[in-house]
């Protein structure tokens, strides 16, 4: 599968879980300054596990689709688990290998979520 696979384009065109949570447990903004991608995430927890993710963003297909897919995939994961995830986790969930030059795009969502968590701690 290549990075323009149907599921990536579907999440890019129709991102899931957009918006923001009114009183989130965590929130953070992230940016890829070299390309202008911006993201703002908010999260809720239940019993130390992620119960809800909402995001607002602008950016390329990879950063948008990866964030959209993660906003479903991370539900039920503990904050310690999420803190340890890296590129492997993102690739497994979006279903493609990401080239070196697109890693920052693919990781923007996860890094912003991790930033939100560490801001709180």
């Amino acid at each position: 599968m290549d990075i323009w696979a149907a599921n990536i384009m579907d999440h890019y065109r129709h991102p899931r879980n957009t918006g923001q949570i009114k009183s989130p447990d965590f929130k953070a903004d992230g940016a890829n300054t070299s390309c202008g991608d911006l993201i703002s995430v908010s999260l809720s927890l239940e019993n130390e596990r992620i119960s809800k993710i909402r995001f607002i963003s602008q950016g390329c297909a990879i950063s948008q689709a990866a964030m959209s897919i993660l906003s479903d995939a991370l539900i039920g994961h503990s904050i310690n688990e999420v803190g340890a995830y890296g590129l492997d986790f993102v690739e497994k969930n979006i279903g493609i290998k990401v080239s070196d030059r697109r890693q920052n795009c693919a990781l923007l969502g996860l890094r912003t979520i991790q930033k939100a968590i560490s801001n709180k701690i």
Partner: protein, 401 residues
């Protein structure tokens, strides 16, 4: 065929030949440059300015001849040519050496919104360090310099330096630096021209321009990376304190003091990029061999051809829609993020850059998040432009369905 002078295009031919549209970032290297550098290492290498044996003399002569070639390339005297690491170091040298010894808190430096980071950050550093004020000349909606704004900014009190780009690496528009310089001169303002983007496209004569400083990088002219030039007017350079300290930039060193060497060596501390200078001189000679007339003709045709393509693809918007420009096009494609476009087209063999192109304030000025930049040079062809637009059409179709 000019293209055959560049070995990289020979190696990457066939089904996915290299369509190199990233010339604003760096020019590919002609064989003449590669050979000059290789020959220096194989036949003439030694450190310079130090030893008395013949090989060292040969290397020193090659280095100093390179300075002369580069000087005559921009109609300067060779002692006015300082070799640096690149345009960025050249501007930093002016900021640190001229700036720190001439600017006081509240003095103004005038730049334009079209600058790349190399001509913004060194001045912001002086703002932090000594409290200078940085003023930006406005651009018009077509990307050209707003001369009314230039007059306003240059007429502000305590403007000491104007530092402007001759051609923006994003917009490709040729700025009227001669007019800006006369305006600045009439107000006793020191002038710096950033020729990073213009140097490989049309002849530059520093005497005619009458600027005080001019900077460029060798690699954008087909020379090696790690070599650049600071041209400075001799009477100004003579008065400036050295930038970096070390060997080669000194006349003599005592345990408690030193006497700097004469220009240009005063500003070339340590072993300089010898092979870089030799490669850059070879690049200057190569450009002269092709000839500015031919280069201008080819690039003008490429620019016109590219504009024709833009007209028939209405979903592509050009940043800085002005015809008086080099073949540098920063584009916004409906429904397609520049990163996706650059990646997609990269897989089709087209080399482009996406992002801010080291000019973030300019993108902010036009309220644009990022652009896709196609920058062409004299070895590109019209058929490559056709291929580019064909692939862009397919990309747009895929992203729009």
């Amino acid at each position: 065929m000019i293209r055959q002078d560049f070995p990289i295009f020979k190696k990457r031919s066939g089904s996915k030949s290299l369509v190199y549209f990233d010339n604003a970032a760096s020019l590919q290297k002609p064989q003449a440059v590669i050979s000059a550098v290789t020959s220096f290492y194989q036949n003439s290498y030694a450190n310079i300015h130090r030893a008395l044996y013949p090989l060292a003399e040969e290397a020193t002569n090659l280095y100093e001849n390179a300075r002369q070639v580069v000087a005559s390339f921009i109609s300067a005297d060779s002692e006015e040519i300082i070799f640096t690491k690149g345009a960025t170091e050249s501007i930093n040298l002016v900021a640190r050496s001229w700036g720190e010894s001439n600017l006081r808190r509240g003095d103004r430096v005038v730049i334009s919104w079209a600058e790349h980071h190399a001509n913004i950050v060194p001045w912001l550093q002086l703002k932090e360090k000594i409290g200078i004020r940085l003023e930006y000349i406005d651009l018009r909606s077509d990307g050209s310099i707003d001369m009314k704004s230039a007059l306003v900014k240059l007429s502000l009190p305590r403007v000491k330096l104007m530092s402007v780009t001759q051609v923006s690496n994003v917009l490709g528009i040729i700025n009227p630096v001669d007019k800006l310089i006369s305006l600045a001169k009439s107000k006793q303002i020191i002038t710096l021209v950033d020729a990073s983007q213009s140097i490989g496209h049309f002849p530059i004569d520093v005497k005619k321009l009458a600027c005080d400083f001019l900077v460029f990088s060798g690699h954008k002219l087909g020379g090696p990376t790690g070599i650049g030039v600071l041209y400075g007017r001799k009477n100004i350079l003579d008065k400036l304190p050295p930038f970096l300290g070390g060997g080669d930039m000194i006349e003599s060193v005592r345990y408690n003091g030193y006497t700097p060497a004469q220009v240009p060596r005063k500003f070339e501390a340590g072993t300089p990029p010898i092979s870089g200078a030799i490669g850059l001189a070879a690049a200057c000679k190569y450009i002269n061999h092709i000839g500015w007339k031919k280069i201008s003709k080819i690039e003008k045709e490429l620019t016109e051809k590219f504009f024709e393509g833009l007209v028939s693809h209405s979903y592509i918007r050009l940043l800085g829609n002005n015809k008086d420009k080099l073949p540098i096009f920063s584009l916004i494609i409906d429904n397609v993020h520049p990163h996706d476009a650059a990646d997609w087209l990269g897989q089709e063999g087209i080399a482009l850059r996406a992002g801010f192109h080291c000019a973030q304030p300019l993108h902010k000025y036009y309220n644009i998040s990022a652009t896709l930049r196609a920058s062409l040079s004299f070895y590109n062809s019209k058929s490559e432009i056709d291929y580019f637009f064909k692939k862009i059409a397919a990309l747009h179709k895929y992203f729009t369905k």
